[in-house]
Subunit: 382 residues, 4 copies
Amino acid sequence: MAAPQYKQLRRSYGFDEVAIVPGDVTANPDQTNIDFKVKNFTFSIPILAAAMDAVTDVNFTALMSKLGGLAVLNLDGVQTRYDNPQEVLTEIAQAFDAEVTLLLQKVYSQSIKENLIGDRIQAIKKSGAVCAVSVTPANTKRFAPIATEAQADILVVQSTVTSARHISKSYGGLIFPELRQSIPMPIIVGNCVSYGACLELMRTGISGVLVGVGPGAACTTRQVLGVGVPQITATMDCAAARDQYLRESGKYVPIITDGGISNGGDLCKAFVAGADAVMLGSILAQAKEAPGQGYHWGMSHPHPALPRGTRIKVGTTALLEQILFGPTVVTDGSQNLVGALRTAMGTCGVLNIQEMHRVEMIIAPAIATEGKSWQLSAYKSS
Amino acid sequence: MAAPQYKQLRRSYGFDEVAIVPGDVTANPDQTNIDFKVKNFTFSIPILAAAMDAVTDVNFTALMSKLGGLAVLNLDGVQTRYDNPQEVLTEIAQAFDAEVTLLLQKVYSQSIKENLIGDRIQAIKKSGAVCAVSVTPANTKRFAPIATEAQADILVVQSTVTSARHISKSYGGLIFPELRQSIPMPIIVGNCVSYGACLELMRTGISGVLVGVGPGAACTTRQVLGVGVPQITATMDCAAARDQYLRESGKYVPIITDGGISNGGDLCKAFVAGADAVMLGSILAQAKEAPGQGYHWGMSHPHPALPRGTRIKVGTTALLEQILFGPTVVTDGSQNLVGALRTAMGTCGVLNIQEMHRVEMIIAPAIATEGKSWQLSAYKSS
Amino acid sequence: MAAPQYKQLRRSYGFDEVAIVPGDVTANPDQTNIDFKVKNFTFSIPILAAAMDAVTDVNFTALMSKLGGLAVLNLDGVQTRYDNPQEVLTEIAQAFDAEVTLLLQKVYSQSIKENLIGDRIQAIKKSGAVCAVSVTPANTKRFAPIATEAQADILVVQSTVTSARHISKSYGGLIFPELRQSIPMPIIVGNCVSYGACLELMRTGISGVLVGVGPGAACTTRQVLGVGVPQITATMDCAAARDQYLRESGKYVPIITDGGISNGGDLCKAFVAGADAVMLGSILAQAKEAPGQGYHWGMSHPHPALPRGTRIKVGTTALLEQILFGPTVVTDGSQNLVGALRTAMGTCGVLNIQEMHRVEMIIAPAIATEGKSWQLSAYKSS
Amino acid sequence: MAAPQYKQLRRSYGFDEVAIVPGDVTANPDQTNIDFKVKNFTFSIPILAAAMDAVTDVNFTALMSKLGGLAVLNLDGVQTRYDNPQEVLTEIAQAFDAEVTLLLQKVYSQSIKENLIGDRIQAIKKSGAVCAVSVTPANTKRFAPIATEAQADILVVQSTVTSARHISKSYGGLIFPELRQSIPMPIIVGNCVSYGACLELMRTGISGVLVGVGPGAACTTRQVLGVGVPQITATMDCAAARDQYLRESGKYVPIITDGGISNGGDLCKAFVAGADAVMLGSILAQAKEAPGQGYHWGMSHPHPALPRGTRIKVGTTALLEQILFGPTVVTDGSQNLVGALRTAMGTCGVLNIQEMHRVEMIIAPAIATEGKSWQLSAYKSS
């Protein structure tokens, strides 16, 4: 007896399962334009530093701005819980693996000091950098006015999964149209991974969407909750929502692929999948200027009852400038990310990110060549 | 010359190959209802402890009941073969790997003592717990009346593969409609994995179906017999049978996904695949209160001529309460299973298990990200 | 510009990628009939021992016959090149890995002694066993008459790939209809893997077909030549040819899946894929009575210019009877193969091999559960 | 809400994912014709040695020609940068892994000496070999006239990705029709991987196309740029372009699969996928006569800002003649490549390369049998 279909399972794809097809035309990498715009802000590189405590602090934000990108300061992390976050970060970096989750749970149980929110924002503004700060949906009503008063430039409202509609019998959920009216700055919201959720978020009038739930192998959200969508599919679906919203409203709301990008190849694929920008965590945590001191951890790792994530040793491999622009002697794609993006655009014959969205991509599992660890492809020079 | 198709091979899916898609709406985890009903019994958590000797004894049953779930005592195992099963369990735990199969074959060749059946049931009843006991089809006619007399509450008839029709020239097979009439308590039957087999079992009037043949990597049924269906497909097919039976009879017979669940992620996926409850073995064998003393083995392992399965060291990692409800410091999804289920339901915007059945799931191979062992997805907090 | 399709690539499947679906009905394993017929010979178990020097010699043939199966003696191997093959076999078993290919090339460059062909056949006949012998297509014209005279019962003509039509400008190829008329005994031919090749071979009037080119991971034919078809697809395609030939001629010519079977699960799947019997190499080389002394190697390994294959250490794990019929304490499916087949048939509710051909099979990659090495599926007992 | 499809992702295939299906007919390997023609040059084996510094120098070119193939000298490598390239090659071979990229960047920053171009070409011509030299698109206008004057026979214009149209605001790109008119010798261009790019290149009037971008596991182009197409798909798409160009122009322009071939199996599959010849790098770097001294590296490895590739130790395993023609005692497909090709053609019943293009190929993942590392397929002899 044949079973009637109970549920349709659509195939999804992650970074490792696809590859970019070179173009019928080629172009000069130096002539590509990779600007990224959020409302009235324009950044010369489409790269954001994640609102994670091992990546972004005041200094890192200033540096990232100088290099053309945007770092987001986490208002829910150690920077707003501790007058001297450096001490705490060192403690985390020096903890043994076995005790680190307990330590993180303790560190993040310390309450947030509202005065530090203002202090951090002002320090960033003083450096001349664009100041983007992130809050959780639950804290938004409380912290967004403080951030506004301190003259932050961009507000990021971010949790594992964020939707335009939240069902709760006990408290009024966060209503984005309301928030948008009370807060003058552009609002970026995330994370979401599906067409419907992304489209609904855009319809609330926000200015950008973060894409990504549970990508990356060491993120344990998928192991703990079973929830997650690989980033190529998530990005393509949200790009479809962006295009639909553009058709219905005339407004172009950028999407930012956030999470799971571990090398230049992944980054390039995100753009071909439809991203307007990417948000990087672990890859920037490797910068000598990053506050994590060679370590990195997820922001759901410290959850008191259901921790998800793991602290990883990423090392401190290079200056941020070198990670972004090279030159480099590493050949694994972890440095000169901007050079990689421009070179990939050149091989695809495109001159800007929107043309990059139309480039062909194929399904090409990395696993197919695993048995041949010493293969070299023949003669290549750019 | 093109070959005509000899046989259609349908693609099936296991836990590791799928992921749950977050909803367009989100909900508060604390407001979810995860009740599970079998006839007139209602359990506050949809989790059963397997009728395996390393998991369930009298004490574990009482504890599981107190925590809102249901443990099933195996009437075909050491509890009814030995006055003092503790001794035997210790011997198994201390055996060397090389000799354990032979030892198990010896241990389980000891005959079942009918008086112990009554004793165990009465001890469970005395604790106030709901008493569910399991028998094999071959032993059902002999042991079911004893269990009835001892006032067991739920009868589980279970073997590797159980069907409503059994072909035998030598003896009359077990006939479920007959059994159902002679036994007053609800009957749960398993295991089955296909639409047809599940539907036929439901039509015999039984009260629940266990789903799962050969799931999990260390179950060697698939290696020894080639037989097995991955759990996502098996659960979806049996859920389709349940819905069909509901349409034709007006009765809702729950299905219980049994086997292969190794973390919260798998558990959540089982519900999205259509399960009304899950039965757990190895994950509960890790409880400090479990009789297996840190070891676990399958009930077809002791087969005298064709042993299938292996003894595994699972360790004793936490109290049962912590495994079910947390809090925890482990981040691999093996603890706080109920918290994981409620959180996943929240990210999917659903408030009960039947809504969970309608959540979207995608094919998203775990293997896709294997090469990136230190990746972290970006900023997450719940 | 979209590429027009240059070539259709059909998906094929190997043993590890499929699983057998249990039936809606179950049956008693002891009541299954697993007879295998080649023309007027009937064997009580559908298992052949491969014509490989590490598996079959005169004694092994006698034993296999007594147990109900059929062993095939290789007339192109050490048994007909050496008066005392035992010495040579010991030398091979004791060679270092680095020198074994060179040694095999030397051993097999010794020419075949025609008198030994008769001697070996008569020794087998004397034991009362059915005597099947194998020759290569190139040697058939020379050796088949000798085998006939010595009263062999079944002739096997076997090479890596054998077809009914062979293109050669330099010599007249082997013509099967001619051979069939000059040789009175049943002829089994192989190996082939496709519908067309199998159907053409059957139309020449031969009595059985061996199926399998390049299966198994340690066979290096696929690495060296790129040639091969995974066994599930090869068996299904040849089964379709068998059924087509039955429709057009009224004659049922059995197919024998040869190669790549490493456990009971694989063996059961071969039958569901359409096999009438299986030919086993490495799994029988593990028998204490096998001439390989714990080692095994392919018959294209000794090729003087292009060796393909590798010598593997399989160990001597049990008596042949135990490998075929159990009982056993190993749980990896390498022993009690007949018990496994009957049990699988029972779970599928079928009573003979032809019913087994109609059982459902699904695509269920083994890899899906690889990450969970200590999982156990819940309660099972047969 | 179902997502509209943002982008179609076509499935692509690499060498490890396919297998060749033996024919319904077989043929004699010795009677196969494997000639390869580029314009008025005919080579008796369809194998080119890559224009990589670890593979091809003057001596290797002479030897390759004598054996019937064609080696391409890289005019952009050490041979034209150093009077005594041997010294530099030894330095590279002796460098530590950690410092090799930096060393290569330094070695290749030395400028090219135009007089050495003439010297190398004349040395090759003097040996009697066909002289093929390779230049990058950027250097073509400068070096092609020098090569012409020195009487090179074939010009190869090669970079990672080459197209017929190049977008550049700053300089006039290389225009192939122009080049073709100013240069009398046949021009081979690459690399490309798609139907459109290949067809456009052919329409410029060039005489051969190299196929392959980012194949092989140790090529890091895919990791760094995300760009690449597995070789089976790339070859099939370019073969479709060749056939289309033949239909529209009456001219047959051969395609050469370049990169990722690690054994005889891969090589045979390239031809079934549509290749007219193959270009080999690492597999020939293993020859005792290769200049790399047991090491090999990609020509985009030395890139000053964005190095892609890695130096690998390949060892020096055999004489070039043995790698191409055997005999051999290795069974991994790395030696006797011509014997492998002829044998595969025999099992497919084809007598020349164009018939080989019509042979059936199936999708048959190598991974399917990975768990069975000691399997042997049954009896085989050629």
